[in-house]
Subunit: 253 residues, 8 copies
């Protein structure tokens, strides 16, 4: 139960849509949860949603399919929505053995299982990507943003080498509340987009490239040095991180 | 005239607070301005406010006092608010010779001159700094955010080596709409703050440190790798950039 | 026979608990050992314990299972305790074929076989880890410290993004004589712990992370630049090295 | 006498515009020059024009005013055009004491003195610069290209943060035979220009920026990783080098 | 239809070799093509040739054989010449299943299928390589330049450690219109060649080497710092990029 | 009042050497101090000694002489011992204007003023330095360790290029309880010393060197990669940090 | 036939040990060889021995077994001694299929086949290695030096963490004419050896290590910054290169 | 008295040119010297010549003129030849105040004062430099080699951009016993020279350059990756170090 959800609950009481007793019960249920659950190889944090606006997200890299399935089970059992990032088909299979409703998104390398309706964001998050190779990162951002309760639009393959394709989409750029831009190689796309809009732009460098791209360093430096204003940066390939920033912005009251 | 100001104008017409003629005059004045003015060593961009929500900001580094004064004069003559960053007492003197109302902020190394009332942000931007040496960057952020129409609070000298000083201020952290965190050396403060709140955190690494701080690289990498969610990063020492991101967020309707 | 063990022996003679003859025999046995033993692909150092307080440790990386088994056999034959680090299940199998009592610790990737009772450390070494992915390094430190004669406690999954979990454990932090802290990504945990205690903190950066973590560089730089005092650093992923430092401190008379 | 000049001379003989004797005399004069002249602190290369299409250029950095004046005198005495790069007002004064016709270009930090008419390039070299701070490098390129016999146009202050200023100049971009693009910070301008034209683009990163621009590395990497085709790169701040490449292209028959 | 082809068409009308109707039909066909075609995982750009002088090139790295075959089919169906770089035998097989005339060049790791006759370049592009290990990059450049309509010559295994082999080939060096030089390790070959000729030299560093070559950084830095003039650089291992630069130069009217 | 001092006080009460009233008064005085004092440009932390074993240390770099004098005055007024590091003769003069008893150590660039007797360490801290140029860092460590209540010995100019000078001092090395080793250039001295002793070694790389020493990186990497056990590392030039680690070790009960 | 061999031949004529005719025949045979032989994928250089003192060496990395066998056959057919470095058991098998007398050295990863007696070096080359993991590089150096006609001694496992093992071998160190020292991790061994002798020391850093060894960078920097004189460095893992330097020194008349 | 001088002395006794008494006296005098002399800020090593073949050299960087003069006085008083490197005119003045015969070499930034005749090297050391800006480093090498008893030749301004100037000097290159090559920027000269000779080449990268030369890193990497054999490298700008290597080689019996 995050801040927005709590407020909605109290409003419902204020409006008479909910009895104080029902509200008390719901809040009590959250309070009676253990703040975290120790399952040996991890401490599953059940109060994360209250503190950070979204339940604990499982970072799949370096965990076995069984470990991921085990953590996923605890999160779902506690009534939370499930999001696993940087995972594999093997892990998805293990998760679906215990949670048949879980969905695997191969391009985004994520597993999701929604429970309940998340507090809705105020506007749309537009996820732009420079090239086809940036799609795994862009999709990780889009899926994550979606599961966090945001309306998401995609604008892919609009790299600066063919700037006319981007300029044709200015209306879509302007109608977004936050824009996530994933780009590898020279990482120039966020600068160009940042110069066209006045909403916050979250730039996520990708490790796409070769030679002097140095696994995303070129794109990262390009974005940090952008002369466009309103632009901030997350770690290389961190699509989920970009979504978390964008969702935090989009959920501001 | 940025998006918010245009909307306010049209609302005033709708409410009958302003005649259509007066509104037409104001809009006409903006439209009749040249989009930019060529003064030899620079092209002063007079439509920046319409596109980006704030007039062109003068980046003082590498410009002579006379050049800065010249650009400042054009900006003020066009009716815009003036903000000069990364500047010097000498430049401030040159600016005040032609614009006696301009204010110089020595710690922040900025010059400001407000004209008209900027569109107000919705909430408060809290600017936190880890140590005394981070204050020039934090103050650049605070002054910039203030002049862009945001309510600004400051929370200084709360580095992680004395974590209790920070924890005592959780209420102030939670009441902000956006938080800017400036930190040098190991750059751990944004991670800790990011774990305590659910609003967006803009981390700005500073070049404060020595030895293996490598002019801010250590802090930059620390922030990019933060496991706290909702946290994005701007360039080393870029206090103004952090303010621009925070203000864009704070001005979302 | 290290310094502590020699002193204990002489004290026993002084106290009359041991005859001079028995002591002489024990010391003679050590002196009559060859200082090192040449087995072709390595020179096994049999006097290391006297000089450094612990017998030669086998660094498993880049050695074949047969080589490791061969060296292990010589060390055990000389009456020393065995510790193999950075090794594999295959090597463990080869070692157990010749030394059936040897134990393999899969998470820590170490093989151990105790012989005799090591000189006990004075207090407790607490091994803290930021996240699940840091456990292999933390366990290498814990197993190594244990086999060197130290009481070891573990405090895992207490990263700074959920600072309350760490703060709840201040009593355990304060009761330790030395603290080892393993952390990857931004590596902020040692700074936070260092600010809470007055005992020495040995920070060990791990290569856990992606993108701009650069294989542990981000964590390493964060730790070197820590503003907490009493904190020193060992190489990335060097759990054994951290244990050796902590044990040297814990065995000071 | 470079390849183009030699061909012009022989054509003139073929056309009867020049007697064989006069041509012989001119060629003889070149051949009778010493290939280089040793003046102690330098060997002035008098055959460079024949081999490389332009006389030896004096790289001013790290030379005293007297040394520069001495070398300049020898070059001019041999009948060559003078170009000194990366120099200072003090050096210009020393040069003008012995060569009163020499011109100093303070922004470009170059000294020039034309002798004779250089072989003309076939088309126009357009020199574009992203921001005001890039002008010293852009001007070094423009002055150098001009003195090498090229028609030069300038297009300054067209950085990607205000892409409309650049797009308005597409006609000028398309009419050039070669384009030099100087940009610092994120260095995205060459990528954008490269996507708009089919002529060769020579990108020159500048050291303009701060923080994570690392003295031009960010711009350099951005340019090397550009996904625009027909784009090649020279060293950071190497305006002269860019001009030499562009002039070699522009002088191809 | 690129600039050169359009001019040839109009010349043919002017000369009476082609009726205006036939020309109109050809131009119309191009104009009636969609500017790009969306096939889900990519937007195939059909106007690239008009804008950049060569149809869209398929960068094979990170694409599946099926994706490559799908894109290749669209390009060929639109009447364009096909060039796939950084690809594999598996992809070649998939392409040849749908386009039996496509050719695979294993050393160059490219797939080609010519359609129509490209506009011919004015002179010869010489591709030089320092050692045997640089051949994949050199061949990618040679095949790419050839398919773009350039006469290509090869000069391989002429590294600076045996400078006499290079000097014996000065005539071939001088007869080229543009020279591409691929070299790894210390990357000195472009400097030496650049000192011998007055035509543009495009240097392409390769990742050949070990130890302190750092995957081509040593060669890249060597080339960027070359004191030879007329030399510019492309990304590490970017043979195609070098060919695109050289072809743009060679197709200047 | 740190842990050791508190214990001494309580022991004195237990032994009857001090009345409970006197002890209560002393403890009360500490408790009644403000935890920190806000003087505008800094918050002076008066409880640091209780938490970390030593009062707040003034890091002089980047502070004006007046600021340093102001902070020093507050610390001394609160009854604490003063230690200012990385300072200047000008700052020392300003401090002595208000605190005439303060001592300036020019080589160590530190200012000290003892108040009361610090809790004594158990053994000796030996400070070793490789060369003359490392003395400022070594002396910063030595002065800091001394003022923290440790017996300090110095062993200077014993670099590995003349290993016999070091070997002649093995007795002194062995009699220390902790060893601090400062070395620049290749930074090999800590490895050699670490191989000779069984006590903890704190290695502090210095920025002494040129060329490929990269301001201390070579020494830092050398120390982190040391194969000697019991060795940990602090930041480049961080003499104070090394002393804090060594003192924490030396004050363990 | 290198310089030394030519001199020996002429001396033999001078001494009457060889008739002028026989000498003429031998010299003629060399002169009548082609300077290099083009076999498609390589130009085998048959005059390398005359120019550099040793026949062309085959760098095996990145060549197929068949290519290596093909080149090896040509070298042996021309009467030269064969040396293949950085090769594999598969390549050795392919070579032995055509050259049954060739020897494979698995630890050194080299193939050799001696033909004739190389000119002998004047003294002994001592190859020292810090640890077991450095042996592949040390053995590459030893085998290479041996096949080039040098007397070779080995001194392995003498790293600085057990300095007494090295000091016990000072006599062997002093009796060498050149010393090659291979070391990874902190790379301190060459500094220590360099301080003990007055003969040239060739340091070869190895990529042995982990974490902050960065694949040999730590060792490389340590060696370049060594304060010992008479010490020079070759590339990381370049055992052959070290042997070539040492052999060139050892063959000076 | 180094090894060569001792041998010469004993030979003289053997030949009857010197009485045993005189030899005994000379040897005694050396033995009766203190091995080092402690003058507070330095320990002057008087036995260095015996161990390393040349007396202690004073590294001037970071020492005051007075300190340098003090150390110089002790060295000369002990009968040794004086060599101070990386020094200044101020230091030279201070040295000449106490040692009027000392010579200052401004370009090489060294001070020398010969005492006695050094043991002569066997051949000539050739010092080559790529450009004028490399002369300070080349001269440091030349002066140092000269004072160590070597015949020195200079070959300056022969960079690879004008390769014919170098090729014209092949006879001089071949007549040297060792070659030192100083080069900045791309650092290609040692590779080219290394391919022309069979004697050892000592490459010294210089910090000459700008932009991506990174203070000599480009040249250093180029030299380490050279494919020429017989080439080793010293630290950036380390002219003295190159001379020490070359002299050690040239003094081999």
């Amino acid at each position: 139960m995050n801040r927005t959800e709590l407020k909605a609950l109290l409003d419902a009481v204020g409006d008479g849509r909910l009895t104080a007793e029902a509200a008390q019960e719901q809040i009590f249920q959250v309070l009676s949860q253990k703040p975290f659950e120790d399952i040996g190889y991890a401490r599953v944090d059940h109060h994360r949603a209250s503190r950070q606006g979204f339940p604990e997200v499982v970072f799949g890299q370096g965990k076995t399919p069984d470990q991921i399935a085990g953590i996923a089970e605890r999160i779902v059992a506690a009534g939370h929505t499930l999001l696993v990032t940087r995972t594999t088909p093997q892990a998805a299979e293990a998760v679906r053995a215990v949670l048949p409703d879980a969905a695997f998104h191969p391009l985004a390398r994520t597993i999701t299982l929604r429970q309940g309706e998340p507090a809705p964001g105020k506007g749309t998050i537009l996820v732009a990507a420079a090239g086809t190779a940036d799609l795994p990162v862009a999709e990780e951002a889009a899926i994550s943003a979606d599961v966090m309760g945001n309306a998401v639009e995609r604008l892919y393959d609009v790299g600066v080498a063919g700037i006319h394709r981007l300029l044709a989409e200015q209306a879509r750029l302007r109608s977004a509340r936050v824009i996530i831009v994933a780009a590898g190689m020279e990482g120039a796309l966020p600068s160009v987009i940042g110069g066209l809009v006045d909403v916050p732009v979250v730039a996520v460098p990708t490790s796409v490239g070769y030679g002097a791209s140095f696994g995303g360093i070129a794109a990262l430096l390009g974005m940090l040095n952008s002369c466009a204003s309103g632009l901030s940066v997350v770690n290389i390939d961190n699509g989920f991180g970009a979504a978390a920033v964008a969702s935090a912005i989009n959920h501001l009251p």
